[in-house]
């Protein structure tokens, strides 16, 4: 039975078994491998995407539940002219990734956080950014989120304080 939904603005229809997690449909049927497999049990966030704008761990949602809905993956964040999303740009400026494997999920989580809160507080960042990064890029993730929300100046002040 074909299941139809949109991914990054395009209509798609897939013939997967209904219990197949969205993650594997994205990666194996639609060749969108920017969304990663990390744990399969909603514990790490590597597979994070947006479903109707909501941050969703795609390893733990059956594709049948996605029918008729709109999915955005890391590949769909940039503008049509190829300009990267402000969060992606902040990620490059802060040189966040190390191995990079968790970063699609981190970026999707950060985008959702900023869309929800505008300018997230430190406590909101702590609460929302629960994705695992084994390489330990957390300080730069925090820095990039602050920079992306136009609070670069405050972040700089905080780090100057840290140096003193």
């Amino acid at each position: 039975m074909a299941i139809s939904f949109t991914v990054n603005g395009k209509d798609v229809s897939v013939a997967a078994e209904p219990d197949t997690p969205l993650l594997w449909v994205l990666r194996e049927e639609l060749a969108l491998t920017g969304t990663k497999f990390g744990c399969g049990i909603a514990a790490c966030g590597a597979c994070s995407v947006h479903v109707d704008g909501q941050l969703t761990r795609s390893c733990s949602v059956p594709v049948s539940e996605i029918a008729g809905r709109a999915v955005t993956t890391i590949e769909g964040l940039k503008a049509e002219d190829g300009t990267l999303h402000a969060v992606q740009q902040a990620w490059i400026a802060a040189q966040v990734p190390q191995c990079g494997y968790c970063q699609s999920g981190q970026i999707m989580a950060a985008v959702a956080l900023i869309e929800r809160t505008g300018v997230p507080s430190e406590a909101q960042i702590d609460e929302a950014m629960t994705n695992i990064c084994r390489c330990g890029t957390y300080p730069r993730i925090r820095k990039a989120i602050l920079a992306a929300t136009g609070r670069a100046a405050r972040a700089a002040a905080a780090s100057a304080q840290g140096e003193a």
């Binding site: 990666r27 514990a43 191995c99 084994r134 300080p139």
Partner: protein, 757 residues
């Protein structure tokens, strides 16, 4: 070499490498040198200058129309693009960028026109300079050995069990001994070519931004114009390298080349690789390491839609399907029976108990130290201070689970995936299926973390994928579930130690003894840095059914915890400040003392803290780099620790890329804190209890220090590693901070289990 920041190749080779005496090292060095003599006639670097076969092979593999290859290490295209071939894999530690910086600096290349690419997994690109230095430092060796003559091979393979690591070496050995020399030599060839073309003496020429310039006449030639002629010239093997003041790229915060593809989802990791007609497989190996597959009824898996085949290996069962989900459903439907290999009684408490017994009643397998500790203890009467420490098995938990694609066709085995040593991977795959290494092709892919887990010597997925590929007519990608990954790790060994010491009447340490029990590998023990007249460090070998793996910074993690916790205990016993107590046991004016002083200064050591907050300090030297850390921490209401601030001061000689080095140290601290607070692999009835990130908790952003202050001291010492040395001080610095905060001394890790108890 210690007083020359820019050693050339001869100096590097001439330099004594055995600063840390370790028993087994000599054996390995001899084996290697025998092999090197057979292979390259004794001159380690000579391969690249003398071996035309390697050169033409490398050219064929990498060099296209309008491009000119130099020594297999780099090529220049007529449009001036310089491509540097890195024999190392970059798994996020910024190696490729750093190696490119080093070569391009000596070459005086325009950085905007420099690319760094993964070298093919071909012996023409294996790195002899690295092998030599690696063995000199007793840390293992990369894949060149797989290419050595068969007679040497056997001995080397056996020695592989002793110690393996991949990290912290690329830049200081390949970079210093290889990339810089090549860049400088090619620059001279370009100058000579330009001198002929312009009809001026070479001495009147300078280089900058990928051009050779004749200032007197205002003429210049681009490297791209000169490349064809320069590539025909013989290259000098002893070019003079730049001195520090002339660096334009080394030491500069150059941004990493691989990052854009890691923020837009386009980077293709091993697990992302796909081929037409490819199937996906997943695996369950015997839950008890050492166990075998007894039987399995295949029918329930074959009844799952999309499942195509069940493959039985000696110790595992594999389900092959159209996609990962079907394969994992098929695997879950099976009820395979495995034996326990006789290890059914192995458990974490049993291991600690056996280690204690061995330490108390057994004989040590390795000893090091100086002076007469026994006499000093006797002289001190009953006043010997002692403490027992325990650390658990630790898992690498690289974010990308193991995945390897393999295709056997027309007598050749082709593989795609991320492993820390591609040539070694070919060798292991060939052996697993009885093929010739020449018939195994390996395509290195980007790796989602490694930390030591992806070294072929400990990567059994190579055997599994190779054996699987021999049984199916199509390409197949074998993907491990996270559960498989967590339960079949090659862990940092569970280990324990008793430390004992006496103080003299001036409050100095008179004698220090460390009796530690871990696997059969004593190498990589942290060198003892303190000035103590009598020391004894005794290793008792205790092996389990687990395979000990190199875990980021190897044995330095547990010894950093033991030594730096215990010296803290001694400081308190002596009634002294832990920083000052350490300081007075370090030679005045030493690098160690400078690093310690600087971290105390930057962290505001001694300034008042809020109630319930403690500050802890630790210093460890590993991989040629000295790192001191200060942690500020408190205890949350639920009893778990909260790290508030972290400071690190690092002396690794020269920093090639401070932006990246800072990330490596900060990441290392977070990995160290994560292990200290939460991580433990537990054995019960021979099998691993933990299953996923739910019961093997990795530190998350909210629990990581929001800022980590990392500072580098540039010194003239030989370049040290940067990927690993941030990890070892973190455990003790945190435990020491919590002692200051609570008065409770933590001697068993992880803290999470302490908090519960």
């Amino acid at each position: 070499m210690a007083d020359n920041p820019n050693p050339n190749l001869e100096e590097i080779e001439a330099a004594p490498t055995d600063t840390t005496p370790v028993k087994k090292k000599g054996i390995k060095r001899r084996i290697f040198l025998a092999g090197a003599a057979l292979l390259v006639g004794g001159g380690v670097f000579g391969l690249y200058w003398a071996d035309n076969a390697a050169k033409s092979r490398a050219r064929a593999l990498t060099t296209g129309e309008g491009e000119h290859n130099f020594l297999t290490w780099m090529k220049i295209a007529e449009d001036d693009t310089v491509t540097v071939f890195s024999p190392h894999i970059d798994f996020g530690q910024g190696t490729h960028t750093a190696l490119g910086q080093m070569l391009a600096d000596e070459l005086d290349a325009d950085w905007a026109k420099v690319k760094v690419e993964q070298a093919p997994s071909d012996v023409a690109f294996s790195n002899t300079a690295l092998v030599e230095k690696f063995l000199g430092e007793m840390t293992g060796y990369p894949g060149l050995i797989a290419a050595l003559p068969a007679a040497v091979m056997g001995a080397l393979t056996r020695s592989q069990k002793i110690q393996i690591t991949g990290g912290s070496s690329a830049v200081r050995f390949t970079g210093q001994g290889g990339m810089r020399v090549v860049g400088a030599a090619v620059r001279l060839a370009l100058i000579e070519e330009a001198a002929d073309r312009l009809g001026v003496p070479a001495s009147e020429l300078t280089t900058a931004d990928s051009k050779v310039i004749h200032a007197a006449s205002g003429r210049s030639l681009r490297y791209g114009e000169l490349a064809a002629g320069a590539a025909e010239r013989s290259l000098r093997s002893d070019p003079v390298l730049k001195s520090r003041k002339d660096y334009r790229l080394i030491g500069k915060p150059v941004t990493r080349r691989d990052i854009p593809a890691k923020v837009d989802g386009s980077a293709v990791y091993g697990i992302d690789f796909t081929l037409p007609d490819m199937r996906v497989a997943t695996i369950a190996a015997a839950p008890v390491r050492g166990g075998k597959l007894i039987s399995v009824d295949e029918a329930p898996a074959l009844a799952v839609p999309g499942v195509e085949k069940v493959v039985k290996l000696d110790d595992a069962v594999i389900v092959v399907a159209k996609g990962y989900w079907q394969a994992s459903k098929g695997l879950a439907a099976l009820s395979p029976k495995f034996s326990d290999g006789g290890h059914g009684a192995m458990s974490t408490p049993a291991i600690y108990a056996a280690q204690d017994r061995l330490r108390e009643t057994g004989k040590p397998d390795n000893t090091a130290g100086e002076g007469d500790v026994a006499a000093a203890f006797k002289a001190a009467g009953g006043k010997v201070i002692s403490a027992d420490y325990r650390v658990p098995f630790l898992h690498h938990a690289m974010m990308e689970p193991f995945a390897l694609t393999a295709h056997f066709k027309s007598g050749k085995l082709e593989m795609w995936g991320g492993l820390q040593d591609p040539i070694g991977a070919r060798d292991r795959a060939a052996k697993a299926v009885g093929m010739d290494m020449e018939d195994v092709i390996f395509h290195p892919m980007i790796m989602g973390g490694g930390f030591g887990r992806r070294f072929p010597g400990v990567a059994e997925i190579i055997d599994q994928a190779a054996q699987l590929a021999r049984q199916v007519p199509y390409p197949v990608k074998l993907v491990w579930s996270r559960e498989e990954d967590l339960r079949h790790g090659t862990y940092r060994p569970q280990s324990s130690a008793r430390l004992a010491a006496t103080l003299d009447d001036k409050g100095r340490i008179a004698a220090w003894q460390s009796d530690y029990v871990q696997g059969d590998n004593a190498e990589g023990e942290v060198g003892f840095i303190y000035d103590v007249p009598a020391t004894s460090r005794r290793h008792f070998a205790y092996t389990t059914n687990q395979i000990d793996g190199p875990w980021r910074s190897v044995n330095s993690t547990q010894h950093g915890f033991y030594n730096e916790s215990f010296i803290d205990e001694l400081a308190h016993a002596a009634g002294e400040d832990p920083y000052r107590f350490r300081r007075k046991h370090l030679p005045d004016g030493s690098r160690h003392q400078k690093v310690l002083d600087e971290v105390a200064r930057r962290s505001g050591w001694g300034t008042p803290l809020p109630a319930g907050v403690g500050r802890g300090i630790a210093i460890v030297e590993s991989f040629g780099t000295i790192v001191a850390e200060v942690i500020e921490a408190t205890v949350k209401d639920d009893g778990t620790p909260k790290v508030l601030k972290a400071f690190a001061v690092v002396d690794c000689g020269t920093t090639v890329n401070p932006l990246n080095a800072e990330a490596q140290i900060a990441g290392g601290i977070i990995m160290g804190l994560s292990a200290t607070i939460g991580e433990a692999i537990t054995l019960d009835q021979g099998a691993v209890v933990e299953s996923n990130f739910t019961d093997y908790p990795i530190l998350r952003l909210a629990d990581a220090p929001p800022l980590i202050d990392v500072h580098f001291i540039e010194s003239d010492a030989p370049m040290g590693g940067i990927g690993e040395p941030g990890v070892p001080p973190a455990s003790a610095a945190l435990a020491n901070a919590l002692f200051m905060a609570t008065g409770k001394r933590i001697r068993t890790l992880p803290l999470r289990q302490q908090a519960k108890a």
